[in-house]
């Protein structure tokens, strides 16, 4: 079934190509239109339709669709950029609709939905960053540091918990980076613990000044 569909689309696109070469734009467009109807998820069909589209708006819509189906095709990207550029020359208005890691979807001043490539690596946004493996250990370490500032007794208790968490998580650390991070947490916990002991002692002797 899938194979038949591909064959049919290929035939339609080939036909469109021939019509285009003969200068029969309308017929070429009809073939492409049929191809996109038969296989709406075929980026090539949308790209071919864009090349024969009767209006700039439709050309933009088709390129946009082709791009969203195959964001890695350089030709589609290039032509989409050029089409958007032309559109913006006429009407420099774009409204935000949504975005993915690959593209923005925007609405033009003429109510066209256009996908625009981002062309950049995608870094997980700060707010959506997932907590790392070492987070529980880090949390206890933070408590230990705060407790150290407040007399040290809390740090004597929290630092070993942080160290224990770091050791426990070492076993399940998937990467060398995480393992190193946990090792650092462990070392810091030990240092804080060692610093907390004399400070706690200084606090505790104040309960028994004699």
């Amino acid at each position: 079934m899938q194979k038949n569909l591909q064959t049919e689309v290929s035939q339609l696109l080939e036909e469109a190509g021939q019509f285009a070469r003969q200068g029969k734009r309308e017929k070429a467009y009809q073939s492409c239109l049929k191809a996109t109807t038969v296989a709406p998820d075929e980026s090539l069909a949308w790209y071919a339709r864009s090349r024969n589209a009767p209006s700039r708006e439709e050309q933009l819509m088709c390129l946009s669709r082709a791009y969203s189906l195959d964001p890695n095709d350089p030709e589609t990207k290039k032509e989409l950029h050029s089409a958007v550029h032309t559109l913006l020359k006429q009407e420099p208005f774009l409204a935000y609709v949504y975005e993915t890691e690959q593209f923005y979807q925007v609405r033009s001043g003429r109510d066209l939905l256009v996908n625009i490539p981002k062309n950049r690596t995608f870094e997980t946004p700060y707010l959506k960053k997932r907590p790392g493996l070492a987070q529980p250990a880090f949390r206890w370490l933070t408590f230990a540091v705060l407790a150290l500032f407040l007399g040290g007794v809390g740090a004597v208790l929290f630092a070993p918990v942080a160290a224990f968490q770091a050791l426990r998580l070492q076993a399940s650390a998937p990467t060398d980076e995480e393992r190193m991070r946990l090792l650092i947490v462990f070392i810091l916990s030990v240092i804080i613990w060692l610093a907390a002991i004399p400070i706690s002692w200084l606090l505790l002797i104040r309960f028994y000044p004699s």
Binding site: K78, H81, V84, H85, L88, K89, P92, F93, L94, A95, Y96, Y104, I116, P117, K118, N119, R120, T121, F122, E123, P125, Y126, L127, F149, L150, G151, G152, E177, M180, R181, I184, I199, L202, L203, I205, R206, F207, P209, S210
Partner: protein, 776 residues
């Protein structure tokens, strides 16, 4: 010995800094022999003072030897600096280090109850961090004024034949007045560079009437000018700039960011683009300059305040490839921007944040200290306050996100992190530096509390207020103020008056920075400051109203200081009063500058918009958090009095550093008795009125009945405190005054040599009054 070492090193610091103030910028030769000579001279000069005041020869010799070795190390390390810079840095480090050790010992071994100790410990950490930040400022100042050899200084780039890459200049705009943007675009049209485009990115401007004319202007300026209006766009300026990257010409290799209110010099691109011929250069930054910087004190001091960053911080950072991308008037390689994922949309100082990620990838940056454009400064003090709030908030956001990448072990955790130690240091200090104003407010708060408790003669204390604790920070404060004025004068070429005005302009924004630091810590998303709404049409009243919190804090500090001194006139309350007046003046500067900015307002006429992004945070609401926190602190502080203080001098107090009196430090009392600061240190030492006859055997004793009691040099309330005695302490009575209705006991100080006067109402006497001799 520690205290003597501390005073000696403070002397060295002061001498070397004074010498640096005079010679630091003039001595333009670097020579090891000269540095050694300078170091020896400073040490000997300090020793000379010490020998005739408080010093002991052997100690002085030992300390000098150590200081010499330490100084030698820094002379070798800082070969690019001149001798005054090297020696001042070494001496400042020694003094700071010794003071930190001193305050730790004082905190650790003072006879305090547990709650006082917790407060004292917090105060110690606060003090230590503040001193570290002060050191970083000192380093930066010396680095730019005393540096003789610059390794990365580029004054002018040589053109590279045939290298004319395409540049896309992006002009982000939000609700900008058309005439302002038009000037900017006209200046860009006149750029002396053949291959560039200009993309005006207007984001979320609500009225078509505001942004539509930009389209027309771009059309008139030619095919290289494009206009884009983004509606309902997320991510504020960085969101718009990220989208703008998708619309740059595919041939563009370099992106330039120009604020909508900047008029750019024709040579901007021609002069800077050659830097990108080096593929390692990822971004180039030039100073931001302003066209409306003259005419009144507010404008001029604000202008110098901005210049400080570009004349002092950036050159120093540039030496270590650690500059920040400051947005406008900077160029960035497009491929690198795409590689790092574009501008971060959560951060309100996306430019500085992006530069950190670029450096993290191992790229190079370049700072060229020559202004190529002039923009507009905030319209008035309110605008300046909001701008500073935004910068600080962004700085804290960066610190929150990247702190791990700035740690010394960062490279082990993330091998991809290519930040050098110096880069990590500069970015870390840059972020932490904002907290100086928070600490400053906390210090003011502690000082006010100290004054209030002193006013009510409350026995509450957090840490003994020893002479050293008063003298050394005062010396530090004085030296750092001098250093700040000196660096302003040297780098910005301003008069002393303007340097002081600039310094106060900086400090007047301390409250806004404090609020931003707190908000930056508790808020995840970007916020902007909304000052109190105007309740009057009077501009002057409005100017004061927007600084009501600063005014309140300033007045409180000054009043507390004056009242403390007025009620108990001695040199300690005098010092406290001076410190509080100084702190108060920093906050009082805010309403003053706000009023001064009225002149600027009147001259400019039309307000310049301050871009506000994120959700608003009401100043009143943010300030309430500060007030609530202060109340909690005061409440907890008050609890101290319900916990008993040590009844007698505890054993651990023997580890306390011995203090010197101010008299000893200036040589008036070379043989004065040393007393432990924990029991209150010596203003008058044990030089109380000497009795004509003292009994050979003690016939009476006094037991202190209050939490703590002052034992004085003379039998009166302003008789100069010699020491403090604690509840339950039993002392031998040697004599008394001749007024039995208001008795004062002349007692022997326990465990020490010396005597003092204890007020009868604070102690219970056992024995026969008749047998106690009257002392006159």
């Amino acid at each position: 010995m520690l205290v003597r070492a501390l005073y000696l090193s403070a002397l060295w610091s002061a001498i070397s800094l004074f010498a640096t103030l005079i010679m630091g910028s003039r001595l333009r030769r670097s020579d090891s022999a000269l540095s050694l000579l300078w170091l020896t001279g400073v040490i000997l000069a300090g020793n000379l003072v010490a020998i005739f005041t408080f010093g002991r020869l052997l100690e002085i010799f030992g300390l000098s030897l150590l200081a010499f070795i330490f100084g030698l190390y820094w002379i070798v390390r800082l070969r690019d600096w001149n001798a005054p810079g090297q020696v001042t840095w070494a001496m400042t480090l020694i003094t700071t280090g010794l003071f930190v050790i001193y305050t730790f010992l004082l905190t650790a071994f003072s006879p305090l109850n547990p709650l006082s100790f917790v407060f004292a410990l917090m105060f110690f950490f606060l003090e230590a961090i503040t001193l570290m930040l002060a050191l970083s400022h000192m380093h930066e100042s010396l680095d730019v004024v005393c540096r003789l050899q610059w390794h990365r200084l580029v004054e002018k780039l040589e053109p590279v034949p045939g290298y004319i890459p395409m540049v896309s200049l992006q002009v982000p705009a939000y609700n900008e007045p058309v005439e302002v943007v038009e000037k900017t675009l006209n200046s860009l049209a006149g750029l002396n560079y053949p291959n560039y485009e200009v993309l005006v990115v207007d984001n979320n401007t609500p009225l078509q009437a505001t942004w539509r004319p930009l389209e027309e202007i771009c059309r008139k300026l030619g095919p290289n000018f494009h206009c884009l209006h983004l509606d309902q766009w997320p991510g504020y300026k960085s969101g718009a700039l990220n989208f703008a990257v998708t619309q740059t010409d595919p041939r563009a290799e370099i992106i330039g960011i120009i604020d909508a209110d900047y008029e750019v010099d024709p040579d901007f691109l021609r002069e800077l683009v050659p830097a990108f011929a080096n593929p390692q250069i990822a971004f180039v930054q030039t100073p931001q300059d302003y066209s409306d910087s003259t005419g009144d004190t507010f404008s001029e001091s604000t202008y110098r305040g901005y210049k400080y960053f570009f004349e002092v911080s950036m050159p120093s950072r540039n030496e270590r490839n650690a500059i920040i991308f400051a947005g406008t008037m900077g160029l960035i390689r497009k491929s690198v921007l795409e590689e790092i994922g574009g501008w971060d949309e959560w951060c309100i100082t996306e430019d500085a944040e992006a530069s950190l990620r670029i450096l993290k990838k191992g790229y190079q940056s370049l700072y060229i200290n020559r202004a190529f454009g002039r923009g507009l400064m905030p319209f008035n003090f309110e605008g300046l306050k909001k701008q500073r709030f935004r910068w600080c908030f962004g700085g804290i956001q960066i610190l929150k996100k990247h702190w791990e990448a700035l740690m010394p072990w960062a490279h082990w955790v993330d091998p991809e992190n290519k930040l050098t130690l110096a880069q990590r240091y500069y970015y870390l200090v840059g972020g932490l530096g904002w907290f100086s104003d928070v600490f400053n407010l906390l210090f003011a708060f502690f000082l006010v509390l100290g004054a209030v408790f002193n006013l009510f003669s409350s026995p509450i204390k957090v840490r003994p207020l020893t002479d050293t604790v008063l003298i050394i920070p005062a010396v530090f404060l004085f030296l750092h103020i001098l250093r700040f004025i000196w660096v302003l004068r040297n780098r910005l070429k301003v008069s002393v008056k303007m340097a002081v005005a600039t310094m106060y302009n900086f400090f007047s924004l301390g409250w806004a920075v404090t609020l931003a630091c707190i908000q930056g810590l508790v808020q995840r998303e970007g916020v902007f400051l909304r000052t109190p709404k105007a309740t009057t049409s009077s501009k002057a009243w409005r100017a004061v109203q927007v600084t009501q919190w600063e005014t309140a804090i300033g007045v409180m500090c000054i009043l507390a200081g004056l009242l403390a001194f007025g009620s108990d006139r001695n040199w300690r309350t005098f010092s406290l009063c001076i410190l509080l007046i100084w702190q108060g003046s920093l906050y009082i500067a805010a309403p003053l500058y706000s009023l001064l900015s009225l002149k600027r307002e009147a001259a400019l006429g039309v307000p310049v918009r301050v871009s506000e992004r994120g959700k608003p945070v009401m100043e009143q609401l943010a300030a309430r958090w500060v007030v609530a926190f202060s109340m909690v602190l005061i409440g907890t502080f008050g609890l101290i009095r319900f916990l008993p203080s040590p009844a007698a001098l505890p054993d651990y107090a023997r580890f306390l550093p011995f203090d010197l009196s101010p008299g000893q430090t200036v040589g008036r009392e070379p043989n004065a008795t040393r007393t432990s600061p924990a029991i209150g240190t010596t203003l008058a030492t044990a030089t109380a009125t000497l009795p004509s006859t003292l009994p050979s055997t003690v016939t009476a004793k006094a037991t202190v009945t209050v939490e703590s009691a002052n034992c004085r040099a003379k039998p009166r309330t302003n008789g100069g405190r010699v020491t403090i005695l604690y509840k339950g302490q039993e002392v031998d009575i040697l004599g008394r005054n001749d007024d039995l209705k208001n008795p004062w006991w002349y007692i022997k100080i326990p465990d020490q040599d010396g005597n003092c006067w204890l007020w009868g109402m604070t102690a219970k006497m056992t024995g026969s009054v008749e047998e106690i001799p009257v002392v006159r």
